[in-house]
């Protein structure tokens, strides 16, 4: 063993260790930020290790350096700019986009190696080895393509660029996807047999499969899908590791793949959905049309901001239920002003965070943290649910499905069984909402019909601003 090999070995080992510690640290609030930096450091370390190895052995041609620099600068620049500019509300689709590009990268590596086989330095041609090579190339292309197109579709759906086409809700989609899957399997074996031209067939059908599988999935399930696609991109990286013979890639890819799978499972549990029903059940709204879930509202009470302010002033305990609408309206700072006023009047204010409020677990925590809401005022669902009967006022801000009592009462509802916030137990519930449109699941919300629920129609930010004005007039929070 010569020196460059030993150095690379040590660096790789260190990088794997740091990456593992990074993933571990990311699962705890206290260590998360440092862990993220640690992982970033480990990644740069691994690049240094690889480059120094090639410098010490075969050397790196000037031409290679040029292309390395071009690719690095363009990729890093776009990544950094997007990461800095993107608003917190569109985090889920941003993660999906990044993830898709990771899959694309694995796909391209495998394609490159397949079209222009790189010299491995070994003279003896080994049939077994070339077979393994073909298999890993095929897997890398297959998983990479699914990750790419699936993530892009997920992003487009979250951005609202793409709606769920009707046919994807019928049984037809299973047939279509099975056709794609079988076609990719044929291309897969054809490629392994040595027929290189079928590589393009594999690229095309696995891309289509990625689209076909993601397209029918409803918006509420999207976070789970992104998490799963994230796991896939890890698998794609591991497969690329087999292609270029890199242990580090295999370990890191396998770690991300497995950790992503666990995270997906955890998220499913939070939504009371099984992975199978997310992947093959189609979107919730499609099932609901057949059930009693859909229907007309019969008993809507609407009220003015002024009434809302009066009720709030008289309250002792207020619980805020934030949802995606709050994120869209960017009203978290205005909300914070309202709650500050209430607190100054001695009113207890708590925020009830449903595990899947917003479009992504943890979405609301991030948003409220941005508005400087004290961390200890954020209560998780299980902690806050027993408090609702003793609560005077609940403000529902742009949340819908997570406060739907149907999930508890109506066994025919597609939401049935999903854990929800029991807001209807409180004395008064105000729902601030732009209109009577259904939530992301497309299901009618029985909460709106209850006698203790009043609707305040309007954009969350505008209503909250008006609320500040009304509270001021009432002398709330003036000291």
């Amino acid at each position: 063993m010569n020196l460059p090999v030993i150095i690379k070995f040590v660096i790789d080992l260190l990088a794997v260790l740091l990456l593992a510690l990074g993933i571990k640290g990311l699962s705890k609030v206290k260590s998360a930020r440092d862990a993220n930096r640690l992982a970033a450091f480990a990644m740069s370390l691994s690049v240094v290790g690889l480059l120094s190895y090639y410098l010490g052995t075969s050397g790196i041609a000037i031409q290679s350096w040029i292309w390395i620099i071009i690719g690095s600068i363009i990729g890093s620049l776009f990544g950094a700019i997007l990461a800095k500019k993107v608003p917190m509300t569109s985090m889920p689709e941003t993660v999906a986009l990044f993830n898709g590009c990771g899959g694309m990268s694995s796909l391209l590596v495998a394609l490159g190696v397949a079209i222009f086989p790189i010299s491995s330095g070994q003279e003896n041609f080994d049939f077994f080895k070339s077979l393994i090579n073909e298999v890993s190339i095929s897997v890398s292309i297959f998983v990479g393509a699914i990750t790419f197109t699936g993530s892009i579709v997920a992003m487009a759906k979250l951005q609202g660029w793409l709606s769920t086409p009707g046919w994807t809700q019928s049984k037809v989609r299973h047939f279509v996807n099975i056709v794609f899957a079988v076609a990719s399997l044929i291309a897969f074996f054809d490629l392994i047999k040595g027929n290189t031209s079928s590589i393009w067939l594999l690229v095309i059908v696995s891309s289509l499969l990625g689209i076909g599988v993601t397209l029918p999935i409803g918006g509420a399930d999207m976070p789970v899908v992104i998490s799963l696609l994230n796991s896939y991109s890890g698998i794609a990286a591991a497969a690329a590791g087999f292609v270029v013979d890199s242990q580090l890639l295999i370990v890191a890819g396998a770690m991300v793949g497995a950790a992503g799978l666990i995270l997906t499972q955890v998220m499913c549990k939070g939504m009371n959905r099984s992975l199978v029903s997310v992947l093959f059940g189609g979107s919730l709204s499609a099932q609901s049309t057949a059930s009693s879930g859909s229907g007309e509202y019969t008993n809507i009470t609407s009220c003015s901001v002024e009434e809302c302010a009066l009720t709030l002033e008289a309250a002792n305990k207020v619980i805020i239920v934030p949802g995606y609408g709050l994120a869209v309206a960017q009203a978290q700072h205005t909300l914070r002003e309202v709650t500050k006023k209430l607190e100054q009047n001695g009113i207890e204010v708590v925020y009830a965070i449903h595990p899947v409020a917003g479009r992504m677990p943890g979405h609301m925590n991030v948003l409220l943290a941005e508005a400087d809401v004290p961390y200890e005022q954020l209560k998780e669902m299980d902690v806050v649910n027993p408090d609702f009967p003793a609560t005077d006022v609940v403000l529902v801000l742009g949340a819908n499905d997570v406060v739907n009592p149907q999930a508890k009462n109506d066994s025919s509802s597609p939401l049935y069984g999903m854990p929800v916030l029991d807001v209807q137990e409180a004395r008064t519930v105000f729902v601030i909402k732009r209109g009577m449109s259904a939530g992301y699941s497309g299901i009618k919300n029985d909460l709106f019909d209850l006698p203790n629920t009043s609707m305040v129609f309007g954009d969350a930010k505008k209503v909250l601003n008006d609320l500040i004005g009304e509270l001021k007039d009432l002398g709330v929070g003036e000291k």
């Binding site: 990311l26 990644m43 776009f78 990544g79 990286a237 890639l249």
Partner: protein
Amino acid sequence: MSFISLLWVLLLGSLLGLELIGKVPPTLHTPLMSGANAISGITMLAALTLIVKAEGNVPLLIIGSVSLGFALFNVVGGFFVTDRMLAMFSRKPSNKK
């Protein structure tokens, strides 16, 4: 590396990944996903290898470079975005009142 030992690496790596994440508070789901996502951009190493071994083959150099760009977009963007999210948690109770 022989294929068998690479398979061992795959197996042990997967087991490690399964063990690493036990309980995750819901707050951290998004950052964790985004952080793990950045790590999956490790394919940049494969792209680098491709470029170094291209030996003047221009189409291969281009494929490698584009692949490297995609991977780094994933890595750099992913870590930055994760840091942005986590930065919001870190300045929590200190500036209360």
